[in-house]
């Protein structure tokens, strides 16, 4: 009798401990899931219309509309392009850096600290630095610029010709190049940290065996390092894809809320940018876009897990 009593008392107590967390989660996590789905399924929903008593037709109208919306297609295209380029490149680079770090002793800690630095900085603030580095100051039709910026100066020193990377009149390709560079710069630290952690836990015997067999460095890398690291590689690829599809701050950091150079605002807008653009006036559309984003992230994660199940060596 007493034991059950004690357990019951404990049950009640456990819920009390959980109360603050559960109450907040109910309001800011559970309700949003329900309400965002609801808004996405009501035709032309907006909070203003609802408050003034409008009744909305139920259906998949918002989803159909969103996917036919040119601005959404552009955002989706930009996001896909950024993700498809930055994830493989940054993963490969991070892997090379992690392997290099793992095979040196002298100065290793200093290098490790340097490579981790971008992680602790502010994405918006350093985006502004990238803007400063690539920007051409002054100039215009027929007027010489007063400064071509440091990156163009370096390009010129190597014999290239200055390019309008981010300023008025720049091409979308040039904008994208800067953005991709910045996203990779930003993505490296986390990937290096995870991969280096993985490398350090790899059993050294595999390498010694390979060395005895006279395997080349290249062969050791592809046949031993990559397979043994595959769970970590799968992990950084999945989180990379998720982060890539949620790209937003890097664009704001470099180009500001305009999401593009002054002559073509919105040119570099992303999926998340599209959601925030519509959040104030057109919540039905924003909700549909958020759910599409969720579906894409879920699908990419499942595909990644499925592929890695086949390829990953545990």
């Amino acid at each position: 009798m007493q034991r059950t009593k004690g357990q019951k008392k404990n049950q009640w107590k456990a819920w009390l401990y959980l109360l603050p967390a559960l109450a907040l989660l109910a309001v800011f996590t559970v309700w949003p899931i329900i309400n965002t789905i609801r808004m996405s399924l009501l035709k032309d929903y907006s909070i203003m219309a609802e408050l003034s008593g409008t009744k909305f037709r139920f259906g998949f109208d918002n989803f159909v509309k969103v996917t036919r919306y040119p601005s959404f297609i552009k955002c989706l295209g930009n996001t896909m392009l950024l993700t498809v380029i930055t994830v493989p490149v940054s993963t490969m680079l991070a892997l090379l850096i992690a392997v290099a770090l793992n095979s040196i002793k002298f100065l290793r800690r200093i290098f490790q600290t340097i490579f981790f630095l971008p992680y602790v900085t502010n994405a918006i603030a350093i985006g502004m630095v990238f803007m400063a580095m690539f920007d051409i100051i002054g100039g215009g039709p027929g007027i010489e610029p007063s400064s071509i910026g440091i990156i163009n100066t370096i390009i010129k020193a190597f014999g290239g010709s200055p390019i309008k990377w981010v300023s008025t009149g720049s091409t979308k390709t040039a904008n994208m190049a800067v953005l991709i560079l910045y996203i990779i710069w930003n993505a490296l630290p986390f990937k290096i940290l995870v991969l280096l952690g993985g490398l350090q836990s790899v059993n050294k015997q595999y390498y010694e065996a390979a060395k005895v067999d006279g395997a080349s460095r290249f062969r050791i890398f592809w046949r031993i390092t990559v397979p043994l690291l595959s769970p970590m590689i799968a992990y950084v690829v999945i989180t990379g894809f998720i982060g890539g599809f949620k790209e937003y701050s890097s664009v704001v950091g470099i180009f500001g809320e305009d999401m593009g150079p002054a002559h073509d605002p919105g040119r570099l807008n992303t999926m998340v940018g599209f959601i925030y653009e519509n959040i104030k006036g057109n919540q039905g559309r924003a909700s549909a876009a958020a759910l599409i984003l969720f579906a894409i992230i879920l699908a990419v994660t499942i595909i990644n897990l499925y592929v890695s199940k086949k390829k990953v060596h545990y």
């Binding site: 290099a100 630095l117 100051i137 710069w185």
Partner: protein, 314 residues
């Protein structure tokens, strides 16, 4: 040519140990080990070159931000880019503090208030829920914990669409900046894992001594889990410092603007022109970045722990 010779000499000094071998064998082994050592040296040179180049790329934006913040506008804005300021201009920093549009002092204050209050409240909520999940028995515990973890899959934008409407009546308050993000499932998970490592015997011993649950939590669990709590504190403070999207949506008045939002939206134009005063802007970026770098230098271990833990789930 001089470099490969050096290791070759050191090899021939070591090889007399193999003196019992026949001349033929001795020579071929010597040649192989010579080649191996030479290869090793080249590989090491290659590794260090690669790491140094990458380190320069990673560090360059920081370097450029710092030296640009100390240049005069005329020096920055000229065709001849300098890698060290001709004359160090500390008054760029004075200009940042004098910038009424930026109002840096107020931004620091707002961000500190939001950061400190949300960290304290978040710690209390996290400790209580992690304790319930780690030490208490109640019906549906595993299901509830699984459901919480599952919400981590959902992109935050999906919640934001609804939360933006939920907080409509309390925009431009500290509450709206603090409350929606108090519960982090990831922190609960992190702390629960830590709590579970503390042996149950301690709890039973405390029970025999008649210690209450809360006292046990306060006197035993919290001190033992201190490193995780420090990690959570740092990540939470950094979160307030770096957050952009939510505060930009819901709190844009002077009294509640957070630092990153303020930095991005401030004007750094030179009066009456279209020229951005990059040196002053970079000085502002430095002032926002330095606190983060200091936190990183002093709490490196805790930050890395938090990040790598998030890397190896389960």
């Amino acid at each position: 040519m001089a470099e490969p010779k050096k290791p070759a000499e050191s090899v021939s000094q070591e090889t007399p140990a193999a003196g019992s071998l026949t001349n033929m064998k001795y020579k071929s082994i010597d040649r192989v080990s010579k080649m191996q050592t030479v290869g090793k040296v080249f590989a090491q040179i290659g590794l260090y070159t690669f790491l140094t180049v990458m380190a320069v790329v990673v560090l360059f934006p920081f370097y450029w931000m710092l030296i640009s913040s100390l240049k005069s506008f005329n020096e920055y804005n000229s065709m001849k880019q300098t890698f060290w300021p001709r004359q160090i201009q500390w008054n760029n920093y004075a200009a940042v503090f004098a910038n009424k549009d930026l109002n840096l002092g107020r931004l620091f204050l707002n961000t500190c208030i939001v950061g400190i209050v949300s960290t304290i409240l978040s710690l209390i909520i996290t400790v209580l829920s992690a304790y319930a999940f780690a030490r208490m028995e109640f019906r549906g515990k595993n299901f509830l914990f699984g459901a919480l973890l599952a919400t981590m899959m959902i992109p935050g934008e999906l919640f934001t669409v609804t939360n933006f409407l939920t907080v409509a009546s309390i925009r431009n308050t500290y509450t709206v900046l603090i409350v929606p993000f108090l519960v982090s499932v990831f922190y609960i998970y992190l702390l629960r894992q830590n709590f579970m490592q503390i042996p149950n015997e301690l709890y039973l011993a405390a029970k025999v001594d008649g210690t209450s649950d809360l006292k046990y939590l306060w006197k035993v669990m919290i001190p033992l889990a201190a490193p995780t709590l420090i990690t959570i504190t740092i990540l939470k403070m950094m979160g307030a410092w770096n957050s952009y999207v939510w505060p930009n949506l819901v709190a844009r008045d002077t009294m509640h603007t957070l630092i990153t939002v303020g930095l991005r939206n401030a004007q750094f134009q030179i009066a009456g022109t279209q020229f951005v005063n990059y040196p002053v802007q970079m000085a502002a970026v430095v002032l926002v970045t330095i606190p983060l770098l200091l936190v990183f230098i002093f709490f490196r271990k805790y930050i890395m722990r938090g990040v790598s833990r998030s890397g190896i789930k389960g």
